[in-house]
Symmetry: C2
Amino acid sequence: MNAFLLTAESTTDGIVERDFTVNGVPGVLWSPESGADHAPLVLQAHGGGNHKKHPAMSGRAAHLVRDCGYHVAVLDAPGHGDRPRTEHDERETAALFAARAAGEPEGPIVVRYNDHLAKLAVPEYRALLDALQQLPEIGTDGPVGFWGINMGTAIGVPFVAAEPRITAAVFGQHWPHVLAEYAKRITVPVEFDLQWDDEHISREEGLALFEAFASAEKSLHVNSGKHKELPRFEVESAVRFFARHLGRAVNASA
Amino acid sequence: MNAFLLTAESTTDGIVERDFTVNGVPGVLWSPESGADHAPLVLQAHGGGNHKKHPAMSGRAAHLVRDCGYHVAVLDAPGHGDRPRTEHDERETAALFAARAAGEPEGPIVVRYNDHLAKLAVPEYRALLDALQQLPEIGTDGPVGFWGINMGTAIGVPFVAAEPRITAAVFGQHWPHVLAEYAKRITVPVEFDLQWDDEHISREEGLALFEAFASAEKSLHVNSGKHKELPRFEVESAVRFFARHLGRAVNASA
């Protein structure tokens, strides 16, 4: 049994925000103020160096809550946000900054560090889903999606590979070295983003990870631009992807 | 001076449809019943074996007219629709059917036949644009887009490469052999569709054509599925692409 504790609640512009911990891991749940009963749920995972309430997380959640009427939840990843950083976190972060300063490839460090974090985070996300499905307004009968880019993909691909309750997922911008083996076990519809001029992830690496998904229905969105230049309109595309696969039409105001 | 003759006009569900000929080439112009003044214009080109009023053309046009308030025009390609077929058309079509029946690659025949048709069609599209910009409700000050997949790309890529009035284009599903050289001269924003399991165009060929565009802003949409299985939602994506680049917000009823 998971220890799920609500720690704060507020409502702004029609969105209910609830802070919680699940087995001590801090997270946030956003829900529509009305009509939330048994609405679909989307689990998000944030990018490296960010946290559960980073504007990328709260902004995507606002789309999903307002336009689709979904519940949306995010956890702080290990070593991120309100969670303690271990000596291992400090060492790997220092190695990443040193590589960046020296103009050396970041990939090998990010791949191994994210793999380490994913091994910790996957059971945390499973416990999160167990706990959220105990809430009467969510329950076990609604569809569940997953949305994570960058480090969110490093956590999400092994999570979705092992989690039959996830029925659609948006991933992107990571290397195939560790993740392709997990992706081969994923068969649900996938939308995958990559940047054509990514200075860290080569085109071949990005395409290899997309290719690895066993999903009969998968879409790849490539955009010109560097690693951090993923266009804002891909957020709206992901929202429409979830609306197609999890149900409930995108709101006219989208 | 081009000979532009209106031959029929009707209005259905808020869309005005006008048949015309420009220098004898038959075409159709769809416009919103109200608010059409100096609205953006999108030129479409149809796929091989189809014609200007094929449901793919009228369906896409209905989105652009209703959701964005644009004018949309299409010509019958040489040897297609209401236009006469030459001996050369008959010979190439027979060669294509023979290759298909024998299970031989269609690419070499399609590439050379579409190149032949494009050389005829490009000046026809230029004359079309000249003529439409003479209409008081279109004029020369509004932005102009181009949308053509399959043979529409074979015509559109050389047309847009030579036509500075086109400011955004949607292409897809063709080979790079002839078109990559033209694509290198295109710098306007491009959205490009390819099918990941296309039985005629290999992934490498599709990616090579996308790569060739010189556009600073370009997006590639890859979907699982065979040549004819381009998902319907790519139509809506293209409409949003034009709304971003030609102006006028996508209608809430989209």
